[in-house]
């Protein structure tokens, strides 16, 4: 596929869900009502770690209006998004591992009755020590949080990867810098709390409506936990009010709603409160990492050594995968030959960490981009110069075997630096003001499914007929990012029809053909490829018909502006729909399928399957800060982003992804942090106490793209939703260094920390004099 002038791609279209959303008509799971529907609520543990000795639900069951009460012993089937390592239960079974873990559930005629019933459930625990940090959980003699864990010290999983000769490279380095970095415990804080509604029909088939990113994985989990055949379960994705990875694995409320619905024999809705959302969590892993980087005298990176401990919280979740992603995302977008990665994920008695926007990349990026900045300054080089020298070129294969088929990272650096005036500003602004640069990249999909399978990762079916028009059926899930629009645009471009004439049916395991789900920034490339292939297959069917009608060869035909015409003989053209009619008259229904399987690459080391992606997106950011040295407040003034997301399919949506990423990253850099008490209780599980950026915090955002087109991607596109968050945090930290000469290594940079650091700096300088 080559670049050309498109009619739909790259043009602004009005997303079809726009009008519905501004009118409040877009249907979210909590908007659904069914006759006789019950409301489910969850009883949560009030200790951080312990054995369940006794549960007495009799008083709850006796309460008028209660239709079903459920406990873990009734559903003792373990599951996990990584099927080889199931660790979780719908309701705690035998023991609880974090404060607020679901232990029992009630379905009642209304929410108030269900909540009353929860108070009537008596649970007796035998308390165990609570570990809220990896340090405590790893200590000698610590109780195992998971009895069947094969690793000692509450290690959930470990990774060690070693490429080249790191020690030798350090010995030969001109300059080596090592620092320890710490990232914070943050939540996605999407606006819509989780909600699921389950309903069994007369034939005993389950219908579940849920706000999920991964209908397919929900489908599998339901089958496992409810012990039902998959073909008797129908998963329907409702509107998803933001997710960012947080709805990227099965959530307890989904399983509980189905189990309660089965037990009560009535539809059951289980809606989370905001506090429940924080307890379900699956946010970013806090990591403490010691990172060491060496350079030669030209600033070329000689080696990277990483040692990290991830705080995983109480369950497995996506953890194993994220551990290896962290390894894979350590050194790109730079060309580094010697890399060592040692890390472990630790179970602690806290809500489970998991997939959050840019997973695997954000933490190592923070460390590496901070170190490179400091190294450049220490050896007297402009950080831009150092990063540019080390940046990979148009294509690249990493020491770990990741193949980057297309990359415009150098352009990103140049463009961000030029537009922001970085070179003129860096090191030259008055005290308190600073500018920082950072780069980043992200995968556009993964190479493997989480379970062993050879089936395509995405598939699509297109039906074209004169009555209902063009309908694209694809299992991809629109979580607000606008993938339905993108898939519809691709089909429209292929058929030469206006975007408005294409319907997209997605996010439904019964109606749409298989797709893995929305995660790892995979949808545009994977589902997009499947849709493009299906569209090509449709064209292959109708072009011969058009050719006969026009008396030309099919090979010279093109579809545009609602017509199929000969590119060589102007005037030889026929209406698209006329051709469809002729085709259907002669052959019957016009449908075609398409599918996509990413290249399967691997290597000869543990975790080698992870990190491969068909293609990668890149970005660079220059961020300007203004620090109030009286209050310690860091104000972000302007962020200039230059992104390589290939060809933006729907530019407004891509900008939206970038802007959302920047502001989300700002929150983590400057103030977001879940606080946990000694007993494992969350201290700030509300949007009042857990601050996320508001409109008042928003800086000037200059979102730009570099000219880019990946010829092997559908319409040249690459990811856009997770790459742009990669540079955000280090660019801010680097700007803060430029402003006040303090190298922070721990998130978030709160005003107190700034004041303390300024104080310490003053004292230090006083002494020096």
């Amino acid at each position: 596929m080559s670049k050309r002038d498109f009619d739909v791609i790259g043009k602004g279209v009005t997303r079809k869900d726009g009008p519905k959303k501004v009118k409040g008509e877009h249907e979210f799971a909590d908007d659904l009502q069914f006759p006789m529907m019950l409301h489910g609520r969850i009883k949560r543990s009030d200790i951080g770690h312990g054995r369940i000795v006794r549960i007495d639900t009799s008083r709850a069951e006796a309460l008028t209006g209660v239709k079903a009460v459920l406990i873990g012993a009734e559903t003792p089937i373990k599951y996990g998004i990584v099927p080889q390592m199931p660790t979780e239960y719908a309701l705690a079974h035998e023991k609880v591992r974090f404060y607020g873990e679901p232990v029992a559930a009630v379905a009642a005629v209304d929410a108030e009755t269900a909540e009353q019933a929860l108070d009537l459930i008596e649970i007796e625990y035998e308390a165990l020590p609570v570990y809220t940090t990896p340090e405590e959980a790893m200590a000698e003699g610590a109780v195992k949080i998971h009895a069947d864990n094969r690793f000692p010290g509450n290690i959930a999983y470990e990774a060690d990867q070693n490429f080249g000769d790191v020690d030798e490279a350090f010995r030969n380095s001109h300059y080596v810098l090592e620092k320890t970095f710490k990232t914070s415990y943050v939540n996605h804080a999407f606006m819509e709390p989780h909600c699921a509604v389950s309903k069994f029909d007369t034939n005993g088939e389950l219908f579940i409506w849920s706000t999920t990113q991964v209908p397919h994985y929900l489908h599998r989990h339901l089958s496992k936990v409810l012990q039902m055949e998959m073909n008797r379960i129908h998963v329907k994705v409702t509107g998803v009010g933001g997710a960012f990875g947080g709805k990227g694995e099965v959530s307890n409320n989904e399983l509980i709603s189905a189990l309660l619905a089965r037990k009560a024999g009535r539809p059951v809705k289980v809606l989370y409160s905001r506090k429940d959302v924080f307890l379900q969590h699956r946010g970013r892993h806090p990591i403490e990492m010691r990172v060491k980087v060496g350079v030669d005298k030209d600033g070329m990176i000689t080696a990277i050594d990483y040692d990290g401990t991830m705080d995983g919280g109480s369950y497995g979740g996506w953890g194993l995968v994220i551990l290896f992603y962290t390894a894979a995302m350590l050194h790109l977008p730079y060309d580094v030959k010697n890399v060592r990665f040692n890390a472990r994920r630790i179970y602690t008695n806290k809500p489970t960490c998991g997939a959050m926007r840019g997973l695997g990349g954000v933490q190592p990026r923070f460390a590496l981009e901070s170190l490179l900045d400091q190294i450049a300054i220490d050896i007297g080089m402009n950080p831009y110069e150092l990063k540019k020298r080390n940046a990979i070129g148009l294509s690249h294969e990493t020491v770990s075997g990741q193949v980057v088929r297309h990359c415009e990272f150098r352009k990103c650096l140049d463009q961000a630096v030029e537009l922001s005036g970085y070179k003129e500003k860096h090191g030259k602004l008055p005290f308190g003001k600073g500018i920082g640069l950072a780069g980043g990249y992200y995968i556009s999909g993964t190479a493997y499914t989480l379970y062993m399978a050879y089936k395509p990762h995405s598939s699509a079916m297109i039906r074209v007929d004169n009555e209902s028009g063009v309908t694209v059926y694809c299992g991809a899930t629109d979580i607000g990012q606008g993938s339905d629009t993108v898939l519809g645009m691709m089909a429209a471009e292929k058929f030469g029809l206006p975007f408005e004439s294409v319907h997209v049916v997605s996010g439904d395991t019964s109606l749409a053909p298989f797709d893995l789900g929305t995660f790892a920034s995979r949808v545009t490339v994977a589902a997009g490829s499947a849709v493009c292939k299906a569209a090509d297959n449709i064209m292959e069917k109708i072009m011969p018909v058009a050719a006969i009608q026009l008396g030309v060869r099919p090979g010279q035909l093109e579809a545009r502006n609602g017509k199929i015409f000969s590119v060589f003989e102007p005037g030889k053209e026929i209406d698209f729909w006329k051709v469809v009619e002729k085709y259907i008259d002669a052959h019957g229904p016009l449908t075609a399928t398409g599918d996509y399987t990413p290249p399967r690459r691997t290597g000869n080391f543990k975790g080698a399957n992870i990190g491969h992606s068909p293609t990668y997106g890149f970005s660079a950011q220059c961020t300007e800060v203004d620090i109030d040295t009286e209050t310690g407040e860091v104000r972000i003034v302007r962020v200039t982003e230059a992104g390589d997301c290939g060809q933006p399919i729907n530019p407004v949506s891509v900008e939206g992804q970038v802007e959302g990423s920047i502001v989300m990253g700002m929150g983590q850099a400057l103030f977001e942090e879940i606080k946990v008490g000694k007993d494992g209780r969350l201290l700030n599980p509300s949007l009042h106490d857990y601050k996320i950026p508001t409109m008042a915090d928003v800086p000037e955002l200059r979102t730009t793209f570099v000219d880019s087109y990946d010829p092997d991607s559908p319409f040249g596109a690459k990811e856009a939703g997770e790459g742009p968050i990669q540079p955000v945090i280090p660019a801010i930290f680097n700007a803060v260094y430029d402003a006040i000469g303090v190298r922070f290594t721990e998130m978030p940079i709160t005003p107190e920390k700034v004041l303390q650091a300024l104080d310490a700096k003053k004292k230090q300088e006083g002494k020096g004099r």
């Binding site: 602004g12 009005t14 997303r15 869900d17 726009g18 009008p19 519905k20 959303k21 501004v22 009118k23 409040g24 008509e25 877009h26 249907e27 979210f28 909590d30 908007d31 009502q33 996605h188 804080a189 999407f190 606006m191 819509e192 709390p193 509107g239 998803v240 009010g241 933001g242 997710a243 960012f244 409160s273 905001r274 979580i479 607000g480 990012q481 606008g482 407004v652 949506s653 900008e655 939206g656 970038v658 802007e659 959302g660 990423s661 920047i662 502001v663 989300m664 509300s686 949007l687 009042h688 996320i692 950026p693 508001t694 409109m695 008042a696 928003v698 955002l701 979102t703």
Partner: protein
């Protein structure tokens, strides 16, 4: 004990039997059945449940329904007439200020209330007025643009640039 009260929502009168402790959002969503008003937190922290009461943006999740008797309540459903969109809604679409759409109803209503009072707000005025409406998807930039654009549409300077 439930109480029978009359609520005026979007110009229509509803007789509803509700508990005196019921919050307006639940009455609007569950009893009346208008689901456009969203609940993001239920405790006054996010702005998703914003409705207009006598024209003023109000958090319906911390407002008792009984206190609203005799007042004019506008929800997102009351903003447009049929398929015709209110200029604020139009501007949100045109400027790409909508992603998941969960914050959108509250955001649109707060914007409308702002523009009713101040037809040409500065960026800082917009930021202050909408700081109580959280959005996690958009990074707010396009919402700010949309509000500025809506101000122009409302004062009849509609057809700027590409929009």
């Amino acid at each position: 004990m439930k109480k029978l009260i009359k609520l005026e929502i979007n110009g229509e009168n509803f007789d509803v039997a509700i508990s005196p402790a019921a919050y307006l959002i639940d009455v609007i969503r569950e009893t009346v059945g208008l689901s456009g008003t969203k609940k993001g937190c239920g405790v006054g922290d996010c702005g998703a449940c914003t409705v207009l009461i006598d024209g003023r943006p109000t958090l319906s999740c911390i407002t008792l329904a009984v206190a609203c008797a005799g007042k004019a309540i506008t929800t997102i459903e009351g903003l447009s007439r049929g398929s015709e969109l209110h200029p604020v809604q139009r501007a949100f679409i045109d400027k790409g200020a909508v992603q998941c759409g969960f914050c959108t109803p509250g955001m649109v209503l707060s914007s409308k209330a702002l523009l009713d009072e101040n037809p040409h707000p500065s960026q800082d005025e917009i930021k202050t007025a909408l700081a109580g409406n959280l959005c996690r998807c958009t990074g707010y930039a396009k919402i700010i643009e949309a509000v500025e654009h809506a101000g122009r549409l409302l004062s009849g300077e509609g057809c700027d640039e590409q929009a």
